[in-house]
């Protein structure tokens, strides 16, 4: 989470809005990247499930929705649609 968080800060600082996925929200809370989406999956599974394009796309769409936020640092939770 740290490698990506630091990259995120550098890119955002240079004028490109960013959003990251996290599987360890407690750690992300300490690092404070601008926008992060906590997904309910283990380390190694940021996009949820292999070969599940529907779920992977849903995660990406939720992640991109965070780009509208300017109240950084943002940390939201991804919930699977029932």
């Amino acid at each position: 989470m740290q490698t990506v968080g630091l990259a995120q800060a550098e890119i955002e600082k240079r004028g490109i809005p960013t959003a990251s996925i996290t599987m360890l929200p407690d750690i992300t809370r300490k690092i404070r990247p601008p926008r992060a989406l906590a997904v309910p999956y283990p380390l190694g599974f940021p996009l949820g499930e292999a070969n599940n394009p529907v779920l992977q796309t849903e995660i990406l769409l939720t992640l991109m929705a965070l780009l509208e936020r300017d109240d950084v640092p943002v940390l939201e939770e991804f919930r699977v649609k029932g």
């Binding site: 550098e10 404070r32 300017d70």
Partner: protein, 166 residues
């Protein structure tokens, strides 16, 4: 079947990793930078930044031997066959099963192409960035690598960057 329905809480991790997560001095981003989205997503060019340690076949592998973690980066062109990417992330702190089965788990390039085709985003950036995660000494990453990554994304006129750790 999902690998887990619960958040990857620290109590589910190995003792070694739990101790590390608790005692490691995480770099705190302060102040938190913020750039506003200047236009609708449907007009945005989107790039991916992954720390899954992926390398295009034929490119130099990430190296385990670099103390504190390999701070270099690799470029993944947009037209890469994502499933052909080689994975060099050797950390045993997570299951590699997901990315082994489907590289989109660490770099959802196929999904991004679909979103561009559907008009949700304007275009897929020509180059995406692959980093090695689990870098315990991030000094050289921050000082040398990330500024180069920033320049690369700017020169490709990227509007949005999505970050994917593993």
């Amino acid at each position: 079947m999902l690998p887990s329905t619960a958040m990857a809480e620290t109590r589910n991790l190995s003792v070694t990793l739990r101790v590390f997560l608790k005692t490691y001095r995480w770099r705190k981003i302060d102040p938190v930078p913020m750039t506003r989205l200047a236009k609708p997503l449907s007009e945005c060019r989107v790039a991916l930044v992954s720390s899954a340690g992926f390398v295009v076949p034929g490119d130099a592998p990430f190296r385990d031997s670099v103390r504190g973690g390999d701070y270099s980066y690799r470029v993944i062109p947009a037209d890469t066959d994502v499933q052909a990417l080689e994975e060099y992330h050797r950390s045993d702190s997570f299951s590699h099963e997901g990315v082994d089965e489907d590289r989109n788990m660490g770099l959802p390039l196929d999904r991004l192409h679909e979103l561009a085709a559907a008009g949700v985003i304007s275009s897929v950036a020509p180059r995406h960035v692959s980093l090695m995660g689990s870098i315990t000494a991030p000094g050289r990453l921050v000082e040398r690598t990330l500024p180069e990554v920033g320049v690369l994304l700017i020169s490709d006129k990227v509007d949005v960057a999505l970050m994917v750790p593993v």
